[in-house]
């Protein structure tokens, strides 16, 4: 007993030593702060976006939304048990997909526009073909042992899911089987985002860590710490070299993948609500973060300042998304409305 304890202590010490060494290596390359570098950049000024459309149709809290690659269609999921596919230009609902389980937490649009995936407390990721005459279930991906928090399509034949069982998984849609399981997190995985080159993806979890994974080898390449609470939202900077995370500790952070550390944090003492979702404008300059205080705040990603707010929702903003062409931003909320702003 005593010998084992001694060994554990020795190992713990070694672990701490290694951790300190990694920190030191990171500090060594940290030779410039974002605020210093961005000092010369012109300020964005006050960003005032107007509400352009208010999409009504859901009957209960909206939990997730995702833009289609054509920047016109969008799918939203609500706990009234329906997925709605909207043509955001006209405001029309194109398709309604009834769900087997109403407790949906995530939704994704395939880049081709043919498929839509959803999942939630049923632990199953269901993929629907929406181009058929009436939406048909293509596959039910059932192997997670925890709720499905997020999913993203790589193509019409592969999808990556993040689950409350602390793993992320790559599925083959033709066979419906798991191809790679990404295990390393020690808390529920809450969200994931694909890199622009689709060779890797990032995931944020309740263990307050963000991890970068290599899709091909199935391994965790980098881990980023710094948050003090669950990470709810995660997104890539458009260049693919940095990631933005939003957490329950009321702050967002930007981590650089090449410098392997946090470069800037976005927090404000007046903001006491957790961040639920995060999206970036096309140039990466603006960060739209949805908060529990019913607003979506806009941050200048380079200067770290709050430059605007989108208010109008009557309940928590649960999801945010910017379409591929960057025309504006869509916010979805627990008040059952989706609002488009620009």
């Amino acid at each position: 007993m005593a010998a084992e304890k001694a060994e554990m202590d020795a190992l713990k010490k070694e672990c701490d030593g290694l951790r300190a060494q990694i920190e030191a290596a990171r500090k060594a390359v940290n030779d410039g702060s974002m605020s210093a570098s961005a000092g010369g950049v012109e300020a964005v000024g006050r960003v005032q976006l107007k509400l352009r459309k208010n999409l009504k149709g859901h009957l209960a809290k909206i939990y997730a939304m995702h833009w289609s690659a054509d920047s016109r269609q969008m799918v939203s999921a609500s706990q009234d048990g329906k997925l709605l596919i909207w043509d955001t230009f006209t405001g029309n609902k194109l398709t309604a997909v009834p769900l087997k389980s109403a407790w949906v937490m995530s939704v994704a649009f395939a880049p081709s526009g043919n498929l839509v995936a959803s999942g939630g407390l049923d632990n199953i990721c269901t993929v629907y073909n929406i181009k058929a005459a009436s939406p048909k279930t293509l596959r039910e991906l059932d192997a997670h042992t925890g709720y499905l928090s997020c999913s993203r399509f790589l193509s019409d034949s592969e999808i990556i899911t993040a689950s409350g069982d602390t793993t992320c998984c790559l599925w083959d849609l033709e066979t419906g089987k798991q191809k790679v399981v990404f295990t390393n997190h020690i808390g529920d995985c809450m969200s994931l985002a694909l890199s622009p080159d689709e060779n890797s993806f990032i995931s944020g979890a309740c263990d307050s860590l963000a991890k970068l994974w290599d899709i091909r080898s199935g391994t965790c390449k980098q881990t980023f710490s710094g948050h003090t609470s669950d990470i709810n939202a995660i997104a890539f900077f458009p260049s693919g070299n940095a990631i933005i995370t939003g957490s329950d500790d009321c702050s967002c952070k930007m981590y650089d993948l090449r410098a392997d550390q946090e470069v800037i944090g976005y927090q404000d003492t007046s903001l006491n609500a957790g961040v639920t979702s995060v999206a970036l404008s096309n140039s990466g300059r603006l960060i739209f973060a949805g908060y529990d205080d019913f607003n979506c705040h806009i941050w200048d990603s380079l200067k770290g300042e709050k430059v605007g707010v989108l208010s109008g929702h009557d309940n928590r903003v649960s999801c945010t998304g910017v379409p591929a062409d960057g025309m504006g931003v869509c916010t979805g909320s627990w008040d059952s409305f989706l609002k488009l702003w620009n």
């Binding site: 060994e7 020795a10 190992l11 070694e14 290694l18 060494q21 990694i22 290596a25 990171r26 390359v29 940290n30 030779d31 410039g32 702060s33 974002m34 570098s37 961005a38 950049v41 960003v47 976006l49 107007k50 509400l51 352009r52 459309k53 920047s71 955001t88 230009f89 006209t90 790589l154 193509s155 019409d156 034949s157 592969e158 083959d172 033709e174 080159d197 980098q222 458009p238 260049s239 070299n241 940095a242 650089d256 090449r258 410098a259 392997d260 470069v263 404008s281 096309n282 140039s283 990466g284 300059r285 603006l286 990603s301 380079l302 910017v322 062409d325 960057g326 025309m327 504006g328 620009n342």
Partner: protein, 449 residues
């Protein structure tokens, strides 16, 4: 069977020992003179090593003996190698079981992890010292670090360490060369298992870029894309969400007769931007055809289709690519370096989604470094840029007396009635004009009466 490994110090925990015993049973069975593996003398460079076997043989034996699938046998074999019961003779650092003719040997029971031969710092120091003395600079990076660390820690016995190392080297010189190599391999394999280059080393040894460079990268990116960000700069002819005019989308559709200027500018930002735009790719293909290097882009596209396409069609697509691009004398042979070509051809024997990755990367970088910069300087691109449209900003309201609601767009039903209203008004105006002229005519006629 989960084994938490690495950093096994004095005493293995109970669960590990149970697993090791199971592995040892397998190993003993493998070495059985009748039912065990057929071993032979393997040639390693110019020396002949006795009692070695090939990776292929190991897997076949495992499949036969335990009636398992090849995948499982490979997995099991890999575990045996990782825990040091079998070690490779070629590439000793790569503790992987290869399914081919690579030679492997059984580790002597003296060095089995379960024997719990104390892998103390002293022994490790002696081993590293021997390596260092034998051939200067043979130590790997992590070994050098550890060597200097040990030198600091057990400095008081350093003389003993060096003396022991020298003694052991002298003794080994007395042995036959084959024996010496075998013992060296055994020892090296043992220490690779017990003092591995831990994953943390990877985190420490990672190439990190200076913050200042990274931050500049972000600034540049934001600046470059500022004009292309509709939220920041607005967009021409108008933002469809605001003006309800889909002109912007029609102008920027996938395939248009003439692309917009912003779009063509984006092609010069990065090679990936050019390739991800359908029209950009088409233009680049035309350019490459002029330069007689179009097969590169065709090859790249075919590889992309494999990476993102259906699983069931992978073998078929890989064969196509081989026939068209890689086979000697192929119609559109691509120029890849021999090492990558060899690796790819080997990989094609067992096609999978990423089998073409290395070759694809090679061709991608070839195009990026060579053809892409020349394309940007070419007349083809410059003409495209000159021809490209800069859309006119559409005026916000065409009918001044028509007040558009500012905060939400009219619903389709409303839009329809508005349209009819407009038509109505025009018709009305026309009708009024007609009536007026008719009245004038009537007055004129009355006058004449």
């Amino acid at each position: 069977m989960t084994i938490n490994t690495l950093l096994v110090k004095e005493g293995c925990p109970q669960e590990q020992m149970a697993c090791f015993r199971k592995m040892e049973k397998v190993i003993v069975a493998m070495q059985d003179p009748d039912m065990g593996m057929k071993m032979r003398n393997q040639r390693l460079l110019i020396t002949v090593i006795p009692h070695a076997m090939t990776g292929h043989d190991i897997i076949t034996w495992l499949i036969q003996k335990y009636c398992i699938s090849e995948e499982e046998a490979l997995h099991l074999g890999n575990l045996l190698v990782k825990y040091g019961y079998i070690y490779p003779l070629k590439e000793p650092r790569s503790l992987v079981l290869r399914r081919d003719e690579s030679p492997y040997r059984f580790q002597t029971p003296y060095f089995w992890t379960s024997t719990q031969w104390p892998a103390t710092e002293l022994d490790y120091a002696i081993y590293l010292a021997k390596k260092n003395i034998r051939k200067q600079g043979e130590l790997m990076e992590y070994e050098k670090e550890r060597y200097s660390l040990l030198h600091k820690r057990i400095n008081h016995t350093w003389d003993f360490v060096v003396m022991q190392a020298r003694e052991q080297l002298r003794a080994s010189k007395q042995r036959r060369k084959a024996d010496r190599i075998v013992l060296e391999c055994q020892e090296q394999a043992y220490w690779l298992i017990n003092r591995p280059a831990v994953t943390c080393q990877r985190a420490l040894g990672r190439n990190r870029v200076k913050s200042s460079n990274c931050l500049e990268g972000f600034l540049k990116h934001s600046e470059q894309y500022q004009n292309h960000d509709p939220i920041m700069q607005g967009c021409l002819p108008s933002n469809p969400w605001i003006s309800d005019d889909a002109a912007h989308w029609t102008m920027n559709a996938d395939v248009v007769p003439v692309p917009t200027r912003l779009r063509v500018e984006r092609w010069s930002f990065s090679f990936m931007e050019l390739l991800s735009d359908t029209m950009g790719r088409k233009e680049f293909m035309t350019y490459l055809e002029k330069e007689f290097s179009a097969e590169n882009l065709c090859f790249w596209q075919a590889c992309e289709e494999i990476r993102h396409g259906e699983n069931s069609r992978i073998s078929e697509k890989v064969n196509e690519i081989y026939k068209n691009f890689l086979a000697p004398g192929a119609a559109r042979w691509v120029n890849i370096d021999s090492k990558t070509m060899y690796k790819t051809l080997e990989g094609i024997k067992r096609p999978h989604r990423f089998v073409m990755d290395d070759a694809q990367m090679h061709i991608y970088f070839l195009m990026k470094k060579d053809s892409y910069p020349r394309y940007l300087k070419s007349d083809l691109y410059k003409n495209m840029l000159a021809k490209a449209i800069v859309p006119q900003e559409t005026k916000k309201s065409v009918f001044p007396f028509m007040r558009r609601q500012r905060h939400s767009s009219p619903s389709p039903a409303q839009a329809a009635t508005q349209a009819t209203e407009e038509d109505g008004r025009v018709k009305e105006a026309g009708q009024i004009a007609e009536i007026v002229s008719a009245q004038q005519r009537i007055r004129a006629v009355r006058k004449t009466l």
